[in-house]
């Protein structure tokens, strides 16, 4: 099989190398014609923050000069830092399997990452625009998208929170039914706190309040996130009307004591209060978790959620392997079917089957002395019909199959509904 994969990812190269080899969409568009010049019949370049992979089908004449990895490195002007040792390459079924693994999410840095499938679709779209895809990579990428979809619908590989902010937002939905009727207060302006607020907003949070020691920063956050700024000094009184509190400030001591939270709970008629403490050192006295209807989660607790989600996702990997093997098998069968001789043979068999069936239906209308002639006649018609396509197909084979012949075979198989013979 003439499919190859050349790549660099989080397992083979550190971040400094990966970022040098990251290709923007425009860079991919720019390198595509160069790859064609390099005698690649088909090529798709997938580039994300954790991987850059080139899937390709080489032409008949491989240029012996500069190798593909050198070309990619030179394009990025990274000759001094990026060496051959960071690259891996796969060929034939291993290259196909690699594409399927990537699409399924099990090859991602965070197992089950949902972004990768979209990134592969975008890369494939650019390659199609640049007219760099053909029958092999079209089929390969559609198989990969199918695997990605199956992985997400048939397994739980993408389930559970794998970031602090997402875990916090998910926990909120396990306490409250409808976030649109809830108010959250973000204290501090840390990145994780902001992301948590964003996740809550994306889940239809009713009201967002923002407090910061510096009022100006709170006002700036309002511009970024929406919501309303409140005075830092008033957070205790505000908490009486807030359902979710996110605290992410740098403070040497607790900004809320157990006694204060007890007072707050009285003031709020003991309605549930979810507090996310992502400050290090912690902002809220951890003993507050023992108060009725107070759910206090610190950074360790949220990391624990992430660990559990990742463990659950990893437990799904065997199911993904099964899906990959099934789809790899289908791909290989399709690939094997793209051969001239078996296609001609199957086509002949199909036509012969039609001929004999139809002949059997009507042969009794003819006198017995004409039956042999009828047999000959129908055979001749079938042979004549098949002659031209067979000659055309055979002419395409000069040792190895070129792309045009593969396209013809694929078209014939689909037009005449020739099924793929299953491997035992």
């Amino acid at each position: 099989m003439n499919i190859f994969c050349l790549g660099i990812n989080h397992r083979t190269a550190p971040i400094e190398i990966r970022e040098r080899m990251w290709f923007s969409d425009d860079e991919i568009r720019a390198i595509m014609p160069l790859l064609h010049e390099k005698q690649l019949m088909e090529a798709v370049l997938v580039s994300t923050c954790n991987r850059t992979e080139l899937y390709y089908v080489p032409g008949e004449q491989i240029t012996n000069g500069e190798s593909l990895w050198q070309m990619l490195v030179r394009f990025k002007h990274a000759e001094e830092t990026v060496q051959e040792k960071y690259f891996y390459s796969h060929s034939a079924s291993e290259a196909v399997e690699q594409a399927l693994r990537v699409a399924s999410g099990i090859d991602s840095m965070v197992v089950g990452d949902v972004q990768i499938l979209n990134q592969m679709k975008e890369a494939f779209g650019i390659a199609q625009e640049s007219r760099c895809t053909g029958i092999m990579l079209n089929r390969l990428f559609h198989t990969a998208f199918h695997v990605g979809k199956r992985a997400r619908t048939e397994t739980e590989i993408g389930e559970g929170a794998v970031s602090i902010s997402y875990a916090a937002a998910e926990l909120a939905t396990k306490i409250f039914e409808d976030l649109s009727k809830r108010t959250a207060l973000l204290v501090g302006a840390g990145e994780t706190g902001k992301l948590t607020a964003k996740h809550l907003m994306s889940r239809n949070l009713g009201t967002l309040l923002l407090a910061n020691r510096t009022r100006q920063r709170a006002d700036d956050l309002v511009v970024q996130l929406g919501g309303r700024a409140v005075d830092y000094e008033k957070i205790v009184s505000e908490l009486a009307n807030v359902d979710i509190a996110i605290s992410a400030v740098e403070a040497p001591t607790y900004i809320l004591s157990v006694q204060e939270i007890q007072q707050i709970m009285k003031a709020r008629s003991n309605r549930p209060l979810f507090i996310i403490d992502i400050g290090v050192p912690r902002n809220i006295d951890p003993r507050a978790n023992s108060i009725d209807n107070v759910f206090l989660h610190d950074i360790d607790a949220l990391n624990h959620v992430i660990d559990q989600s990742l463990a659950h996702r990893r437990a799904e990997i065997p199911k993904i392997h099964t899906i990959i093997q099934e789809e790899l098998g289908v791909f290989m069968q399709w690939h094997d079917s793209l051969q001239v001789t078996p296609t001609i043979q199957q086509l002949r068999e199909q036509f012969e089957a039609i001929r004999t069936t139809e002949l059997e239906k009507f042969i009794h209308h003819f006198p017995s002395d004409k039956k042999e002639a009828l047999e000959m006649l129908t055979k001749r018609i079938v042979n004549k019909i098949l002659h031209a396509p067979m000659v055309n197909l055979k002419n395409g084979t000069n040792g190895s199959l070129d792309s045009e012949t593969r396209n013809k075979i694929d078209l014939i198989r689909r037009l005449f509904g020739l099924t793929t013979k299953h491997h035992s």
């Binding site: 739980e156 926990l171 039914e177 409808d178 008629s269 003991n270 309605r271 978790n289 209807n293 624990h304």
Partner: protein, 283 residues
Amino acid sequence: MAPAIVIIDMRFLVNLLEILLPFFYFCTIWAYAKAFFSNLKVAERWSGRFLLSTLLVHTMYIVLRSVEFQHPPITSIFEILSLIAFTVLVVYTYIELRTKNLSTGYFILMLPFFFQLVSSLFIKEVPEIPPMLRSNLLGFHVLSALLGYGALTISAVYGFLYMMLYHDIKSKEFSVIYKRLPNLEVLERMSFTATVFGFVLLTIAIVVGTIWLPRVLDTRSFADPKLLGTFIIWLIYAGGLVGKKLAGLHGRRMVVLSMFGFALAMFSLTIVNMFFSGFHKFY
């Protein structure tokens, strides 16, 4: 030739359904357990089918038994247990059809399964039935009380599920309970709705019991242990409902109160009935 007429002996049918019912409940619970723990879509489809089949079979059993023995199934503790199982099943089916949420079925249906199992194992024909147990008024009183207790049972199970999820979130142990159950607020609402439902029915049962029944019962006494027990339960639930409205009882406290009320109700239904004497003791 005359067509063969197959006559099914009614008593045989009642006995057969009596044996089959626990199996139906078991299959239903099994399907719900599979759907909950393994998240199998097939099990989700089958759980609904089993639920409706069990409801159908149990309805047939209650009707046929009432017709065959010519009295409502309230003459022994084991008939009552089967009736409680039935009422829990009816209320749960209603809740599931309304909320389209299957995740609590496994936990709720454990109770009717257990009740029906005990009933099927020990039920026997009562040789002499006191005439008043054939009274329709008593039937209405008992049915409203049992439907009320059925709803309170469901409320308590939702309360129990609330406590499990509450504990999971508080202790940062995110088990399958955390993943599959609806959120705390929904569980609290389900528990509260069932409580209100049960409280109203219990009120009706008490009103019927205290106003009309003394007219037909000479041995009545307002100091009867079960009557007192039921009244105390009623007071606790009334206090809880008023407390929620006035004192803002929320979350865990409300749920704990509901479970406490249920424990007392069970005590009143079983222990008091077995060990204390009074006019309310018929068997």
